[in-house]
C-alpha cells in the first residue's frame, strides 16, 4: 500500500522534503512508516524518538494500522509562543 507523510517544522529539513510517499506492506502501522523514514533519512533517525504522528486534527497512535491512501503528518518537538 502507498501512504503520504507530510513533514512539518524541522522534519522537512531532516527528510529533505515537505511530503514523502512510502510504499509499505499491508497492515503496516505508523511505527512502520517511521522505521521506513529512519532507514532513508539519517537526520530523521537521530530524532525519531521525539516525533509524534498526526492524522487529520488529532495525534494518532503509532501502533494503529494504516490504510492505502492514508495521509499522516510528522509532528517534531513544538515551539509555539
Amino acid at each position: 500500500m502507498r501512504i503520504t507523510v507530510e513533514c512539518y517544522g524541522a522534519s522537512a529539513r531532516w527528510c529533505g522534503s515537505d511530503a514523502i510517499t512510502l510504499d509499505l506492506a499491508t497492515g503496516a502501522t505508523g511505527n512502520d512508516a517511521l522505521d521506513a523514514l529512519a532507514d532513508r533519512f539519517p537526520d530523521f533517525a537521530a530524532r525519531r524518538s521525539n516525533v509524534a504522528i498526526a492524522s487529520g486534527d488529532a495525534i494518532a497512535s503509532p501502533t494503529a494500522p494504516l490504510a492505502d491512501g492514508d495521509v499522516i503528518a510528522l509532528i517534531p518537538p513544538v515551539s509555539a509562543g
Binding site: G9, A10, D57, P76, P77, V78, S79, G81
Partner: protein, 149 residues
C-alpha cells in the same frame, strides 16, 4: 457565540491585541489578565531579524480551542487565545491569551497555565531568521496532550 469566538484562533500574520479584547467584561468578573508574546531581536546570542511561524493547521486549531476549554474548566474563568502563522517582524505579536475571571489570583494562574499549555501542546514551530542570513527551527519540546498538563 460572539463574533470573536467564531473566528479561527490560528491567524495569518501578526496579531492585533485590540481585536482580541473586544468581548465585554462579564459583570461577575473582577480581573482581566492578558499575555501577549512578541518577536524578540535576539536569541542565544544570535541577532534575529524576523520569525516565521509554521503550523499543522487542523491540529493547532483544535488544540488551541481545547486549551481554552481546559483553562475555563480548571480555573473557572473565561479564556480566549490566538496564535499567528507566517512571517512576523521584530516586536509583532505572535500569541495572545485573554483571561477574564472573578479575582486576580485565578486570573494570573490561568494566564500562566494557558501560555505554558500553548507552548507544549500546540503544533507550531518557530523558524528564526538571523541577520547574517542563516535560518533555523528552534529545538522545541515533544508535543504533549492537553489533558496531561
Amino acid at each position: 457565540m460572539s463574533e470573536l469566538r467564531s473566528r479561527p484562533r490560528l491567524r495569518d500574520g501578526a496579531l492585533n491585541l485590540a481585536d482580541w479584547l473586544a468581548e465585554p467584561q462579564p459583570a461577575t468578573a473582577g480581573a482581566l489578565n492578558v499575555f501577549a508574546g512578541t518577536v524578540r531581536n535576539t536569541h542565544e546570542g544570535h541577532a534575529v531579524g524576523s520569525m516565521t511561524y509554521h503550523a499543522h493547521r487542523a491540529l493547532a486549531e483544535a488544540r488551541l480551542r481545547e486549551i481554552e476549554a481546559a483553562a475555563e474548566a480548571r480555573f473557572g474563568v473565561s479564556a480566549l487565545v490566538a496564535h499567528a502563522v507566517g512571517k512576523l517582524e521584530i516586536g509583532e505579536i505572535s500569541v495572545i491569551v485573554v483571561i477574564r475571571g472573578g479575582h486576580r489570583a485565578e486570573g494570573f494562574e490561568a494566564c500562566r497555565w494557558t501560555i505554558d499549555a500553548i507552548k507544549s501542546a500546540v503544533p507550531i514551530w518557530k523558524e528564526e531568521h538571523y541577520l547574517d542570513g542563516e535560518a533555523r527551527f528552534l529545538e522545541g519540546v515533544p508535543i504533549q496532550p492537553v489533558e496531561s498538563l
